[in-house]
């Protein structure tokens, strides 16, 4: 039996996997992509699709900003159903403590060339009248945007296929290693590079990588056009997203082009079941209503959950896996996979083809995990 041979086989058709397929195919590599279910049907479909610059660390800033600029470059090619919209983010400060964080962020982003604007209480009331009165202020990041991730994933897949990539749909991968990909239907693929882009399921194929499932809930409302105009996120989000172990909720509301409102967010470790957790969803909606009291009069039509792929240092794993040089990782993006998918694909393809990257790649290399273990010991 002949074994199909590729330069690169990518396991996982979420936004990160399809972005990698697209980028590698653009560079004339022979690419295969394997998706066991629906393209963009996992964490990609569960997330908000917020294309956001973040600054938990310099490395996180570099990756999110680079990738946001790649989305902006791609924007003209995106079909209408991707619903890319540069609505901007407002980080809402509820007190003076959070307002000092607004000023710190303002200085950080400004120094790095990202347009930002400090909003005072009256500005906020004028721009977002549904926000509770008495907020201290906020930070507007006008270049942040939103998109509809499943359609973005489908677009990237189709672009990759046009460039000659092959899709193995409905195939489950049972094992990868030493340049081989074993499918559960007894097919074997051979490749110089096998990319594990299986999101939160990545450790099943590459044991030993530090990726944990971090469950999230989202709720979507019926259509209320003009209810909010920007993605609104509480600055306390940083506190809750930072706390590594406790279950947490934070106010995070996004306007969709349809007029619907996406309401988040929650973070839970150790919750492995897909079911909606009524208690945490209730806390999440209560939090949202503290910021947008009129939400109480809207009707929600759907709630769901998803699993982020979280790493201990909140940075993704992009690059060669030291234990098997044929295996490359592209996972661990936690809540930023939509934003950082395009940059991830660039950095990965740069490494595969031996090209220099636009930003330093060291913070994302899987080999850093060995040194992290030492640090923890």
């Amino acid at each position: 039996m002949s074994v199909a041979t590729y330069d690169v086989v990518i396991v996982g058709g979420g936004i990160v996997g399809v972005a990698c397929a697209y980028e590698c195919a653009q560079r004339a590599l022979r690419v295969a992509l394997i998706e066991q279910d629906v393209i963009g049907g996992g964490a990609t479909a569960a997330g908000m699709g917020h294309v956001v610059v973040m600054d938990d660390s310099d490395a996180q800033f570099a990756l999110t900003r680079y990738s946001q600029q790649l989305w902006q470059e791609l924007r003209r090619e995106l079909p209408a159903e991707v619903e890319y919209e540069q609505c901007g983010t407002i980080w809402v400060a509820a007190d003076e403590d959070e307002m000092s964080e607004v000023l710190r962020k303002h200085a950080y982003y400004s120094r790095r060339g990202v347009p930002v604007e400090v909003l005072r209480a009256l500005d906020l009331e004028r721009i977002e009248p549904n926000l509770r009165k008495g907020m201290t202020g906020g930070l507007l990041i006008p270049e942040d945007g939103v998109l509809y991730p499943p359609c973005a994933a489908q677009f990237l897949l189709e672009s990759a296929l046009l460039k000659g990539a092959t899709l193995y749909s409905g195939s489950t991968v049972s094992r990868i290693g030493s340049g081989q990909v074993y499918l559960s239907d007894a097919t074997t693929l051979s490749a110089a590079v096998v990319v594990n882009a299986a999101g939160a399921s990545a450790p099943a194929l590459t044991p030993g990588i530090e990726v944990r499932k971090r469950k999230g809930h989202l709720v979507i409302t019926d259509r209320y056009p003009g209810f909010v105009h920007h993605q609104l996120v509480e600055l306390g989000y940083l506190k809750s997203a930072h706390s590594v172990n406790a279950d947490s909720v934070a106010f995070n509301v996004q306007p969709r082009q349809t007029g619907q409102l996406l309401i988040g967010s929650s973070r839970q470790f150790g919750a492995e079941h897909k079911d909606v957790d009524q208690e945490i969803m209730w806390r999440m909606l209560q939090r949202a209503q503290e910021y947008l009291p009129a939400l109480a009069k809207t009707s929600a039509i759907r709630a769901w959950t998803g699993f982020r792929a979280a790493t201990p240092d909140k940075l993704p794993l992009i690059g060669q896996w030291p234990a098997d040089p044929s295996v490359y990782l592209a996972t661990g993006h936690e809540g930023l996979g939509i934003t950082t998918s395009l940059a991830t694909a660039r950095l990965l393809a740069d490494q595969i083809t031996g090209k220099a990257s636009a930003i330093p790649i060291e913070p994302y290399l899987p080999s850093r995990m060995a040194s992290l273990e030492h640090a923890h010991a």
């Binding site: 019926d222 259509r223 209320y224 349809t258 009707s299 039509i301």
Partner: protein, 85 residues
């Protein structure tokens, strides 16, 4: 008929029997309930409050499941579609 009541559907007066649902009134008025996100017409389907296809505005409240609401005299019903705007 003596038992009929009147409601307003998209601003037009309509007589319906006592006990009629708002969804029935919308159908009687010769229109449908709302447009889908893609602009397709939607109207009452399951008739028991499960499918959410029959949502429309009732007395100023948007997105009400009209198959679950009984008409009251003077009620104002607006369908949520481009035709009614």
């Amino acid at each position: 008929m003596p038992d009929d009541i009147t409601v307003l559907v998209n601003g037009r007066t309509l007589a319906v029997p006592q006990g009629a649902t708002v969804a029935a009134a919308i159908v009687t008025a010769g229109t449908y309930c709302r447009d889908s996100v893609k602009g397709e017409p939607r109207t009452v389907l399951c008739g028991m409050g499960i499918c959410f296809e029959c949502r429309a505005e009732v007395d100023g409240k948007p997105h009400q499941r009209t198959c679950q609401i009984i008409c009251v005299s003077g009620m104002r019903v607006s369908t949520q579609d481009r035709m009614s705007r």
